[in-house]
């Protein structure tokens, strides 16, 4: 019981403080607005220009429920009354903190104190909304009451859900009741059925073909960015995820690819206007050579030292591009405009065509990365990542393999850069800041180091979600940061951690499989 109380107290304090913080920066109002947006179909907007108070109450209720859930103690079996007591403690603690804060803010605001000097979001209107357009004291009491009730509800919910065994048991009986439909064997049989897989792939292909047609150009632009970042992620995944070299200047290869493509196809400053597909090939080649240039001197460095040196390299490339020295070559800070666009039977590529091209290249990239990962080379990379000294003593030429990883990664970046420049029809030095490297590295880490589905998922989460969050305007990055923190706590290995390949006995030696089955 004592642990329930302390747990409740702790959870209450944490949630109370978080709520006050969010309130002070004005996020609670934004949250209520969003609830309002969702439920606006049914609820008419409040009378007399007032915002509907119910939305705010829903936000508080959600807070209370989570506060109660967080108050449960994981380690031991808890009696129901003890759990509810913990929830009540949490609710009252959080409610007290919140109530006092609201009371203070509300009455100070009524006395004419202007909070906007320090807290721009806390204007009188929103404070009135937070106090339910009534007296601050009664508003504070409402907060306390609401938190107490919903925290107990949350605790009850958590207590019920802790009956996992019971749930699992009933789920099992459900499964047998359904005639073993969900038995693992049947699922794997479906996946091992070639014809079925062909049908699935065809369906996925048709879906991928028609999606860009249905999306419209805005979504094509966003998804195009995501696709380019998937390509970048695949490349960096080879360098960081497989061979374990922390390269922070990845943007350098991206920039080289983009600029090579732009300078070879744009009418200014050189007027070469080369064939597009040849230019793409050349951008990949130049990026790869840049990788070689960087790699040869520094690949004997490890860990932090490598990270610092490559970080510098990324910045050097950007600064060189915009420098006076190279203005005649790169057009300096102005960037290169009207970069060449691909043609399809004489007519220029539409956004849909471009999206199709990107999808195709992403699929090819995934295929290549997968094949490499499962090969002898891929194993050598992972061995180097795990323990470089031992890998070398086991007979792996570590230098050769590290260079190879860097070159392949740079090639992916070169391709992505060429596509990036061509799609935007423009490329300038400020497209290639350090943030690009950091973003790509985040994609690899958030997705799960060395995992291919992880890269795809990571690119969607890191490049797609910020777009979806545009609704929240200023709070976009705050929410995004919070999501990242939560994710790193909940899934420290990444969204989709890499699984090592499973070798089946039967794969190598059919006789042995029989022997095992006889034993069983």
């Amino acid at each position: 019981m004592k642990t329930s109380l302390t747990k409740g107290l702790r959870s209450g304090i944490v949630f109370g403080i978080v709520f006050i913080f969010l309130m002070l920066i004005g996020f609670i109002n934004v949250g209520a607005d969003m609830v309002g947006d969702i439920s606006s179909a049914s609820a008419a907007s409040g009378a007399g220009g007032r915002l509907p108070v119910g939305d705010l109450l829903i936000v508080i209720a959600v807070f209370g429920v989570f506060c109660g859930i967080a108050a449960r103690s994981k380690s031991e079996e808890v009696q129901w009354w003890s759990a509810l007591l913990g929830g009540l403690t949490a609710g009252i603690t959080a409610g007290l903190l919140m109530g006092v804060a609201i009371w203070l803010v509300g009455s100070l605001s009524l006395d004419g104190v202007d909070f906007r000097t320090y807290l721009p979001s806390l204007n009188p209107a929103s404070i009135q909304y937070l106090t339910f357009y009534s007296y601050p004291q009664s508003a504070g009491l409402t907060y306390l009451m609401y938190m107490a009730i919903f925290s107990v509800a949350g605790a009850a919910l958590a207590w019920l859900l802790s009956f996992r065994d019971w749930l699992a048991k009933s789920w099992n009986s459900c499964k047998t009741g359904l005639g073993g439909w969900f038995e693992k064997k049947d699922v794997s049989r479906i996946f091992s059925n070639q014809w079925l897989m062909i049908v699935v792939f065809l369906a996925a292909g048709i879906l991928l073909y028609f999606l860009p047609l249905a999306w419209g150009s805005y979504w094509n632009y966003i998804m195009g960015t995501v696709a380019i970042y998937i390509l970048l992620g695949l490349g960096l995944n080879i360098i960081v995820g497989y061979s374990g070299q922390l390269v922070l200047g990845y943007v350098a290869f991206f920039a080289t690819g983009a600029y090579t493509f732009a300078l070879l196809t744009a009418p200014t400053p050189h007027g070469i206007e080369m064939n597009l597909w040849l230019a793409v090939g050349l951008s990949i080649l130049v990026s790869t050579l840049t990788g070689l240039l960087l790699g040869l001197p520094i690949l004997n460095l490890r860990g932090d030292y490598l990270a610092i040196v490559t970080l510098g390299f990324g910045e050097i490339v950007r600064i060189l591009i915009r420098s006076d020295l190279l203005t005649s070559l790169t057009n300096g800070p102005k960037g290169v405009t009207s970069v060449g666009q691909p043609n399809l039977f004489g007519s220029p590529f539409s956004d849909v065509n471009f999206m199709h091209l990107l999808m195709l290249l992403v699929l090819i990239g995934l295929f290549i990365a997968k094949r490499l990962k499962d090969s002898n080379t891929g194993r050598a990379w992972i061995a180097i990542r795990e323990d470089q000294t031992v890998a070398q003593a086991t007979g792996i030429n570590t230098f050769k393999h590290k260079i190879l990883a860097l070159l392949l990664g740079a090639a992916f970046a070169g391709l992505a850069g060429a596509l990036f420049a061509s799609r935007n029809q423009f490329t300038g030095p400020e497209d290639f800041t350090l943030m690009v490297s950091v973003n790509v590295l985040c994609i690899v880490i958030v997705g799960g180091m060395g995992s291919l589905p992880g890269v795809v998922l990571g690119a969607f989460v890191l490049k797609g979600i910020p777009e979806l969050l545009r609704e929240m305007a200023d709070y976009r990055l705050l929410v995004f940061g919070a999501l990242l923190v939560v994710m790193m706590i909940v899934r420290p290995e990444g969204l989709w951690p890499a699984r090592r390949v499973r070798f089946k006995r039967s794969h190598a030696d059919p006789d042995r499989q029989d022997a095992v089955e006889v034993e069983v």
Partner: protein, 272 residues
Amino acid sequence: MIAAVQASQVTKCFGGLTAVNTVDLIVPKGSISSIIGPNGAGKTTLFNCVSGFYVPDSGEIQFFGQPISGLATHQISKCGIARTYQNIRLFKEMTAVENVLVGQHHRMRSTWIEAIFHTPRYYQEEQKALEKALELLDFVGLSGLEDTPAYNLPYGAQRRLEIARALASDPALLLLDEPTAGMNPQETDEMTAFIKNLRDTREITILLIEHDMRVVMDISDQITVLDYGMKIAEGKPAEIQSNQRVIEAYLGPGAAALSEKFRRKKTLYAYS
């Protein structure tokens, strides 16, 4: 007698400390040789010189007549020297079978381009490597654990997996650094039998560092004793057991006299 390893006057210093001091070592082909000595005697340093982790400051190491000191470790590995480590160093995130596949790395010829296109040569090579890896896992007694990540294996299995990885490169010489460290008596006996079996069935020369005297005296054909980086004794187990300098090194100068007295006393009792 053909010498698998012939080290002459090998010296390795770290700053002011001479870890290995003008040591001569000859490991006959097909033998099991041991290096023993108190902690800090330079055993592992000598090992590291042979496997190429360190380049000796002076002296030369030959492997079947071919000088190897100064070569990179992966080249030495290609020559046919494989090793295990005192503190187990597996590729932890990889499965057991993958660890063994990495051991076969330098025998595989197909390039990464062939891997992308799955050429027949690549496919056959990969199949053959997999079969060999599974066979090796069977040999060291790890069948059934192929797909287990190395970090999930029990301690004894990790030691055996390390040996399997070393064997995967078809070495002519296997260096074992304290193969029975941290094992209970039964596991130690198993490991001892396993090492003997290894030499007999695979015709591999084995050089090992070991602290467990029971093991050393049981399986060694030849023992080299190091103390403060110097070789103080060399010979068959029985010779080493009665060597005065070895007893001094292990038990201190007084102990040698004591043991002499004890031996005489025992003889006296035997006569009386």
